[in-house]
């Protein structure tokens, strides 16, 4: 069995040979986050720039969300968001929804609103006896989101306490809830924020998903089929 040291030694021998004897010492500093002193500064400047461009970013998100096959709705208050979600759930004749405990979701008061329509609403967490079964059996998963990328209509979601990975994965319908101030323009923006966060946190242990539309495949005759393993119907509720 190869140890790490033996493996890296092989790599070093190959490198020396392939570099024609040129000296290889330390990695290029420009590639290392640890050496990137500006990241916090960069993130701050970016945040300001994005705030100024918010309206145009929301327009861009609207266009790209349609291309990415999200059903997108813009609302201007929590009450409107709640109403929109209840409408979606009743429209689908849902029996059960599972949700996360994101603040953006919690404060909508969804449980009461849904129960009043006889739709059972469950906060999915490790206290559920059968988490996977509950999620797989639910009609809808509702989650808050961390960032929204305008260019690609991508919504990012880090798994954490109260936010199970499978809430947005196992039910056939996913409703993603986000605030307008979570908008960034590009993937690059999002990763600058993530790097700035990581530079401050010591806990690197995280699982993130970038969701950019419904689950789909084109593996048979290049014909697109929506909803192969993950949700086939995805809604994006953006609170301005």
């Amino acid at each position: 069995m190869a140890s790490k040291e033996a493996f890296l030694a092989t790599v070093r021998v190959a490198l020396a040979k392939g570099n024609d004897g040129a000296e290889v010492t330390h990695a290029d500093a420009s590639l290392n986050l640890a050496d990137d002193q500006d990241i916090a500064q960069k993130a701050k400047a970016l945040r300001e720039s994005l705030a100024q461009r918010r309206d145009s970013l929301l327009e861009q998100l609207h266009r790209s969300a349609l291309l990415q096959e999200w059903k997108i709705v813009f609302v201007s208050s929590d009450a409107e968001a709640r109403e929109a979600i209840v409408d979606i759930a009743t429209g689908l004749a849902a029996n059960t929804v599972v949700r996360t405990s994101h603040l953006a979701v919690e404060r909508l008061g969804l449980d009461e609103a849904l129960e009043s329509k006889s739709i059972h609403s469950v906060l999915l967490n490790s206290h559920n006896a059968d988490m996977q079964g509950t999620a797989a059996g639910a009609d809808i998963g509702i989650t808050g989101m961390d960032y929204l990328i305008a260019e690609t209509a991508s919504a990012s979601l880090v798994a954490r306490e109260g936010a199970a990975r499978i809430t947005s994965l196992l039910p056939p319908v996913h409703i993603a809830v986000a605030q307008a101030d979570q908008m960034v323009e590009t993937m690059e923006d999002l990763l600058i924020f993530r790097e700035a966060e990581l530079a401050e946190e010591s806990d690197l242990n995280w699982y993130m998903n970038l969701i950019s539309g419904p689950s789909k495949t084109a593996d048979i005759e290049q014909t697109i089929v929506i909803g192969v393993h993950g949700p086939g119907e995805v809604h994006l509720v953006v609170i301005r």
């Binding site: 330390h26 990695a27 640890a34 005759e221 290049q222």
Partner: protein, 484 residues
């Protein structure tokens, strides 16, 4: 390792060319080509070129210091609570994965599409241990049921018609005949959903391994990558050692290049970032996370300055779609895991030239692969290098053709000067006499008989240009005008 059939290139190419269903499937590659072109136009050509250039720089620098970045990656995976195993070859990699499965009493493994796991042949290995491996990408699932190798890097079942898929599902799954593609996908979804929920171990590839955070990145559309890395108790990811990138923000360079080149998508439905196992305050996720980093001949490519570039590949498949040869012969002709132009470089580099000698020659060197490569990998240059290794390389590498080498020595003598050149032309023009008809030859002896089977060959001119020049050396009118 999976079966190696690289020596059957010619007959398997012929099979594909003469199979109308396969040709129809291959014609659909035009969708990929168009999708890519549209996606780049939307992104902006200039911005695209900047991304390409930056991606290449990152790859160059990362590979120049690969030991450092692999060290960093493994340290950070371990810091996040994961385990890292470095495997020299596929045997070591398989044994390690088997050990993890055994230790966890695993009965079913759900797999998300991974070329490295194909390279390892882990599925057969697990079957040998009495463990059930289940491919969950729809295309991979189809070819697993059909007991075939992937046809294309990103579209494994490209060659199958919906009728063939329906017939396959009827035969293996006992499902009813179905002509609707959505319904066929629905059958697979139902079967696989149960497998997802009962599996004890999930295996995925890694499109990228981020050194600085210890994160592996999985790019998928179906959601099976998320399932495989979230539902089972154990998650094992496999990656080729060249797939490491320094930092998270590098993904903003690579991801658009990958998805737009591959399927013409702005982005895939899902990009999953996994860093170690489930953390304490997380609600769900695997208890164990293992990352297997594979060499398997890659260090040989790293050691060869002329082949190192092949390790920049991000497996988007654009070179397959653009290749005139792949577009006719399809994926199985290449006989191993990696088909198409990049396969013609990687396969002989990993398996050795004597086993895969035909592949570097099976290219017109048209350069379409290089043109579409998002990392600007010069595949034709490497094919020429491998051709040269095959004919003149060090002993044990080369595998030259005797008649051909003889002809080449003759040619070399011919072009050694104008006298020999003229003489050879004269001899040829005499020899061709009995074969000729008008100005053309309709039948030549081997090894040129393949040409004349369907093409006329021109006759050697009675008076070559060298001989004609003497009568045209002084231009009739212009000579005086130029004052010469």
């Amino acid at each position: 390792m999976p079966s190696i059939r690289t020596k059957e290139f010619t007959p398997r190419a012929s099979e594909a060319i003469n199979n109308p269903t396969i040709q129809e499937s291959l014609d659909r590659l035009a969708n990929f080509r168009q999708g890519r072109a549209d996606a780049i136009a939307e992104f902006g050509q200039e911005r695209w070129d900047e991304h390409s250039k930056r991606a290449r720089e990152i790859k160059e620098k990362t590979l120049d210091h690969l030991d450092h970045y692999l060290d960093l990656l493994s340290t950070n995976v371990e810091r996040a609570g994961g385990k890292v195993f470095f495997a020299h070859d596929t045997q070591e990699a398989n044994e390690y994965v088997a050990g993890v499965a055994r230790a966890n009493g695993v009965k079913t493994v759900i797999k998300s599409k991974s070329m490295v796991s194909e390279e390892m042949g882990i599925s057969d290995y697990l079957v040998g241990m009495g463990i059930e491996p289940v491919e969950t990408d729809l295309g991979e699932y189809i070819i697993q049921l059909a007991k075939e190798a992937p046809y294309h890097i990103i579209a494994p079942a490209l060659h199958k018609s919906k009728e063939e898929v329906s017939e396959l599902f009827q035969r293996v799954l006992g499902s009813p005949a179905e002509s609707d593609i959505t319904a066929l996908a629905g059958i697979a979804r139902k079967v696989l959903r149960e497998k997802f929920l009962q599996a004890d171990m999930g295996m995925t590839g890694a499109n990228f391994g981020v050194a600085e955070t210890g994160t592996i990145v999985m790019v998928t559309n179906e959601g099976n990558g998320r399932m495989s890395s979230s539902l089972p108790r154990v998650h094992v990811a496999t990656m080729g050692m060249e797939r490491v990138i320094p930092r998270l923000s590098d993904l903003s360079t690579f991801l658009p290049l990958l998805t737009r080149s591959a399927t013409g998508q702005r982005i895939t439905s899902y990009v999953a970032f996994a860093t170690g196992p489930k953390r304490r305050n997380e609600e769900d996720g695997p208890e164990e996370f293992h990352l297997v980093i594979l060499d398997n001949g890659r260090s040989k490519m790293l050691a060869d300055p002329q082949l190192r570039e092949a390790l920049y590949c991000i497996r988007c498949g654009a070179c397959l779609n653009a290749c005139p040869v792949y577009s006719k012969v399809g994926g199985h002709a290449y006989g191993w895991v990696y088909p198409g132009p990049i396969g013609a470089v990687v396969t002989p580099s990993i398996l050795g030239i004597p086993i895969a000698k035909d592949l570097p020659f099976a290219s017109t060197l048209c350069g379409a692969c290089r043109e579409v490569c998002p990392i600007n990998i010069d595949i034709p240059r490497m094919l020429l290098k491998l051709r040269s290794d095959a004919t003149e390389g060090p002993a044990g590498t080369k595998k030259p053709d005797r008649i051909e080498s003889m002809m080449m020595r003759g040619w070399r003598m011919t072009v050694s000067g104008p006298r020999m050149f003229g003489l050879a032309g004269k001899i040829a023009s005499i020899l061709q006499w009995p074969l000729s008809r008008n100005k053309f030859l309709r039948r030549l002896p081997p090894p040129l008989s393949g040409w004349t089977k369907s093409r006329d060959f021109p006759k050697v001119a009675a008076k070559p240009f060298h001989a004609r020049w003497s009568t045209m050396a002084i231009p009739p009118e212009k000579g005086d005008k130029d004052g010469k």
